[in-house]
């Protein structure tokens, strides 16, 4: 330390204060710094914002020239790539992010403080929602200005709501990865799971355009149900069954949550 050590005369007596720290303030700060932490990570931005928006401009905007009718490629891909973006953001923030913080001892240090665990997890969920929102805004801007997509405000809001709430099962899925896979392998595993499942779930092409066997698999893919909700919101599904998809996502959230909890209890952070 280059500066002179502090005289303890200026240091208050140790605190035995058992009042509660403001829980609301913990949540707000935890979320703010989680968001800032990720915002300053170039590779996270490229993965969660860059790729979906780039795909949209390449495929959605370019293909839009050839489509007609109220729901063309520009509309369809806006909804499905937004879902791809938020799912990727959630899986990376949890799968890779938590795996690294666990392995490096950072999670352990946080657990030794009075921080509520819910603040740690909640902050990461809200941060994932924020990145999903930014993806939607950027993509929406491209859609409106370059592909002349027009939705009523209510549709934009529904789409946003689907993204924001719908990322939760994927946050929990990410946690399973975080507590079971070695941290160096986590980003690779996330890609290995996310890319094929997003494809199989119809986030890149409509399920109807896919080979028969993929059409059979699709309803078992969590991404499919969130995608169908988003596509239903913009009127791209002939017979929307929102309750069916919500039920499937809730079931996945429960299963993933239980598996994540089990993985956490068994992981090295508790030994």
């Amino acid at each position: 330390m280059s500066t002179a050590a502090l005289s303890t005369a200026t240091l208050p007596a140790p605190s035995a204060d058992q009042a509660h720290a403001s829980i609301a303030r913990i949540y707000v700060l935890e979320t703010k710094y989680e968001f800032l932490k990720l915002l300053r990570l170039p590779h996270y931005l490229v993965g969660t914002l860059g790729f979906p928006v780039m795909f949209y401009v390449l495929f959605g905007v370019t293909l839009a020239q050839k489509s007609d009718g109220p729901i063309g490629a520009a509309e369809y891909l806006l909804a499905s790539y937004c879902i791809f973006g938020v799912v990727t953001a959630a899986l990376f923030a949890f799968g890779a992010g938590v795996a690294v913080e666990r392995a490096q001892g950072w999670m352990t240090l946080k657990r030794a403080t009075p921080m509520p665990v819910s603040a740690y997890l909640g902050a990461k969920i809200v941060a994932s929602m924020c990145f999903g929102t930014i993806t939607l805004l950027l993509m929406g801007l491209c859609a409106v200005t370059m592909a002349h997509v027009r939705f009523p405000v209510s549709v934009w809001l529904t789409l946003w709501g689907v993204m924001a709430i719908g990322c939760i099962p994927f946050c929990l899925a990410g946690l399973i990865i975080a507590f079971t896979v070695p941290p160096t392998g986590a980003p690779g595993i996330v890609n290995l799971i996310n890319l094929p499942l997003s494809f199989a779930g119809g986030l890149w092409f409509p399920v109807a355009m896919m080979p028969r066997f993929l059409q059979v698999i699709a309803p078992w893919v969590p991404q499919y149900h969130l995608g169908q909700l988003a596509l239903g919101a913009i009127g791209a599904v002939d017979e929307p069954k929102p309750l069916h998809h919500v039920a499937a996502l809730v079931a996945y959230a429960v299963i993933f949550g239980a598996l994540a909890w089990r993985a956490y209890r068994r992981s090295d952070v508790n030994q």
Binding site: M1, S15, I26, K37, R40, E101, A112, P114, M115, V269
Partner: protein, 304 residues
């Protein structure tokens, strides 16, 4: 060592396993209020495990850990505790001030940001991102995070790793001042020098057992001795009674290991008692070796 009334943290007959590896074997340990206690020992001795159990980061496999008279995992205990662990990496894109501000929010009466920065000597790098700090500055940031709740009890796991000599001296002086202000401190270290410089009490660990404890003076005296190895027909009890010999151990191969404060005197006594003693080897025992020899013979009772 029964838990005294002034004890702030206690392990009672604690055994802890990681899978099949026994990290602590029946350890009883008491941390007294207002003291600086150093856990001293080589890698794998169980120092970090003691810190983890007392900080409520894991439950002992057997036995009981008590912090402030209660459960180490309770929020009430954690509000009064500051912990510095060996963290490989801290999120690198947040600045020193941001990290401190966040950690401070967890506590009901945190120290002001400026006080924490000054205490840890980080004022000049307050707005620098963690990833851009030097090793010593990173270590001091972890110290700052341990201090921001103004704790009465501090656990410091290898606090000076990565610090240069000057930083280490400064850090020591900060620790002394914190102790003088009435805080209880538990620190782990590899170095006798560090334990000697800071601690009022040293607990020596090896292979999960407490093998010695006492004041720095007592421990240093034991570590300053020499180790004599030889083949002899004397019994362990007879060897232990030789003048100058502090401890003696006999292995299955008929080799004796003697720890001697005065090796000249011990050697003369040995040869007087057993003229046939052979293969004699004398060497100065570093702290680790001094205690290793003793544990090998499973004589791990407290010495002080």
């Amino acid at each position: 060592m029964p838990a005294s009334q002034t004890s702030v943290a206690t392990l009672n007959n604690v055994t802890h396993r990681y899978g099949s590896i026994e990290a602590l074997s029946d350890v009883t340990f008491d941390l007294e209020a207002g003291q600086v206690t150093a856990l001293l020992g080589p890698n794998g001795a169980g120092k970090t495990t003691i810190v983890r159990l007392l900080a409520g980061l894991a439950r002992p496999t057997k036995g009981r850990a008590v912090l402030f008279g209660g459960d180490p995992q309770s929020v009430e205990s954690r509000r009064r505790l500051g912990v510095m662990l060996q963290v490989a990496r801290v999120p690198e894109t947040l600045t020193v001030s941001e990290h401190i501000t966040l950690f401070s929010s967890y506590y009901p009466s945190p120290l002001p940001l400026q006080t924490v920065l000054r205490l840890a000597g980080l004022e000049s790098v307050a707005d620098r991102r963690y990833g851009k700090l030097s090793g010593g500055q990173q270590q001091r940031t972890l110290f700052a995070l341990a201090m921001c709740g103004n704790p009465g009890l501090l656990f410091l796991d290898e606090p000076t790793v990565g610090m240069d000599v000057e930083s280490r001296r400064q850090f020591w002086s900060t620790i002394r001042e914190l102790a003088a202000s009435g805080r209880s401190i538990l620190l782990t270290t590899h170095y006798l020098e560090e334990a000697d410089a800071l601690a009022t009490r040293i607990v020596v660990l090896n292979r999960g057992r407490v093998i010695a404890e006492g004041t720095p003076a007592t421990i240093k005296q034991q570590a300053a001795g020499r180790q004599i190895r030889c083949r002899t027909h004397l019994t362990e009890a007879a060897l232990a009674l030789l003048p100058g010999v502090q401890r003696a151990a006999l292995d299955a191969g008929g080799y004796a290991t003697l720890m001697a404060a005065d090796s000249d005197r011990a050697l003369r006594a040995l040869l007087a008692a057993d003229e046939s003693a052979s293969d004699i080897e004398i060497r100065s025992a570093g702290l680790e070796e001094a205690f290793l020899a003793l544990t090998a013979a499973d004589q791990a009772s407290a010495v002080a």
